[in-house]
Amino acid sequence: MSGRTRTIRVETLARVEGEGALTIKLHGDRVTDVKLRIFEPPRFFEAFLKGRHYSEAADITARICGICPIAYQMSALHAMERALGIRIDPAVRLLRRLFYCGEWIESHALHVYMLHAPDFLGYPDAIQMARDHRAVVEQGLRLKKIGNRIVRLLGGREIHPVSAAVGGFYKTPAKSVLRELEEDLQWATEASLATVKLVAGFEFPDFEQDYEFVALAHPEEYPFNEGRLVSSRGLNIDAAEYEDHFVEQHVKHSHALHSVVRGRGSYLVGPLARFNLNFDRLPALAREAAHTAGLAPPVKNPFRSIVVRAVELVFACVEALRVVREYEPPAAPRATAAPRSGVGQAITEAPRGILYHRYALDENGLILTAKIVPPTSQNQKRIEDDLREFAAQVAAWPLEEATWKCEQAIRNYDPCISCATHFLRVNVERE
């Protein structure tokens, strides 16, 4: 075998949220170095949250990410409610699930159709893909629009919605307003089933890894805002214990911190982890769709995450329909409590995986310290580990094809780099 040294290099990683780069160094078919560089400029959210009021954290942290603002709002609100000892009304809980369904539908439809499908069908983007597959792109856009419609209805706008408040919502909708979503959601359920069928027909590289999957698990439902944090290697903890089990490491090539399981190493969060750890709590329609698509837990091929995302689209549509039908407005839009000093932690399931927030408050309700661990910084080390294995498989390929395939391997994770630094470029070097 030749000892030729080559470099796979992507200066600006495309179709991810935020800015990053990749460099992979190859010697023959051996991978000598993998660096996922995140050069998105740091924004220091945790530092400037200090001294702000607890009621401001949800709106401020939403600005970490324009793709999943609701995830930030939910983790912030639940952490604050824990610090303040607030219990939310069951109707508010139901509305928050609907709100999250909207974000999952919008975010997953964006990723499946606009960001990831072009890799499988061989186009640089969805707009060029639309020239040959217009109906497919239009279906994706309509699905995305329905997710956005839910968010807009509950929160006033798609990006950085304004209605979520500590204890509930500033304003809750009338029953009749939610019922207006029913027709759209019925269409979206069918379109999601069609999405599963479509993406299950794509070609997937033969690549499986032995992951530690980490996700929330709830006894009765597929997780959004509640549950214990569990892993495929026996972890089972409350959100308050998160920092005892996970540590963040700062590496020189990245503005995002790498998170690892203490004593073990990288782990995977997001659709694959949720699906593998909560399969039996998916609605029957989603489980059947997974079965027909040939998916059974544990799914260990990260390239199949696009199919799992499509299955989660089915789940989100079915769940949204349930809420829309069962919803009765709460007696009051939100529960209130007097400020007090305390600490609150919460984990919720952002579309890309678990999002951890912790706040310490003083007796006036001002934030003393804040800690935020977004899903992409948790997956970042795992992405590098995947690339180390995967690059060896494509090392002999022409450089352009190998580079594209490695980019696709990163997009398996739907990384949100804006979140992770609160950036991504890909460089594959062949020596």
């Binding site: 495309a14 600005r63 792109v137 304004v162 911190l257």
Partner: protein, 262 residues
């Protein structure tokens, strides 16, 4: 008539320090996206495409604020390649929420967030694009309104002034028949000093406007500050209200600093 196809205007999207939400607004224009993509050539938009074409560009949409030495240089290159440069959103137009560092010692911030501060290189201030290069139009909002973005692109292509009003959120509230939240409920509201464009959503959802579109054309922040005091707000609370997503916009900056000194 010339049988040759007219060359489409070339649009590029650049990102600096930001949350990606404003450029996502373009992808969120689900009904208009394929039509826009038909009318212009999307030459550089890494969030949406791995095909990245070199400049020059007819329109550069710039998201995010300048916070690093590299970005201060990169914006100069963007300006040189762009016929029309439009900033999209509060970060690019006013420095964004990350401009809260401008009142603090950024090296202290780095120590709070990063265990190995020596790996981080950053500027002392988060600044809007217009502090670095001439800007042709500033689109407001955290996030921008995608209808305003489509209007702006259409107007730029037609060579006319975009129809984007600079009056306050109050006018939008009146037009929609919203209840005035400070008058009816005593809720502090930045609507009178904030530029319209969002559709007055916060008052429509029973809360006060938090100023995410930045200062309107002639904001009377001193008068609003006294109203806030009448509603029982402390100077610290009023200062925090002005100091959010458009904190470094000079009118809001001045108002927050006056409260701090009071």
């Amino acid at each position: 008539m010339n049988s040759e196809r007219k060359k489409k205007p070339r649009v590029a999207v650049f990102k600096f320090a930001s949350c990606d939400g404003c450029q996502l607004s373009l992808l969120d224009a689900e009904d208009e996206l394929l039509a826009v993509a038909g009318a212009v050539e999307i030459a550089y938009f890494p969030e949406a495409s791995r095909a990245m074409l070199k400049g020059p560009y007819d329109i550069a949409l710039v998201e995010g604020s300048i916070t690093t030495h590299q970005d201060a240089e990169r914006i100069q290159q963007v300006r040189r390649q762009a016929k029309t440069l439009v900033t999209i959103g509060a970060c690019a137009t006013a420095g964004g929420i990350q401009a809260l560092r401008n009142w603090k010692d950024v090296t202290e911030f780095i120590r709070v967030v990063y265990p190995s501060p020596q790996f981080i290189s950053t500027l002392k201030l988060s600044t809007p694009i217009a502090e670095h290069v001439p800007v042709d139009f500033e689109l407001r909002g955290c996030p921008i309104n995608h209808y305003q973005l489509i209007e702006l692109i259409a107007a730029t292509l037609a060579g006319r002034k975009p129809n984007i009003p600079a009056y306050s959120v109050c006018l939008e509230c009146k037009r929609q028949g919203n209840v005035c939240v400070p008058v009816a409920h005593g809720t502090p509201c930045l609507g009178p000093v904030t530029q319209a464009g969002c559709g007055a959503i916060c008052p429509a959802y029973d809360r006060g406007c938090y100023g995410c579109y930045g200062p309107m054309e002639s904001p009377n922040t001193a008068s609003l500050t006294s109203q806030f005091r009448i509603l029982g707000q402390s100077d610290q609370e009023i200062s925090r209200a002005f100091r959010s997503f458009n904190a470094w916009a000079w009118q809001f900056r001045k108002a927050s600093e006056e409260c701090e000194r009071a």
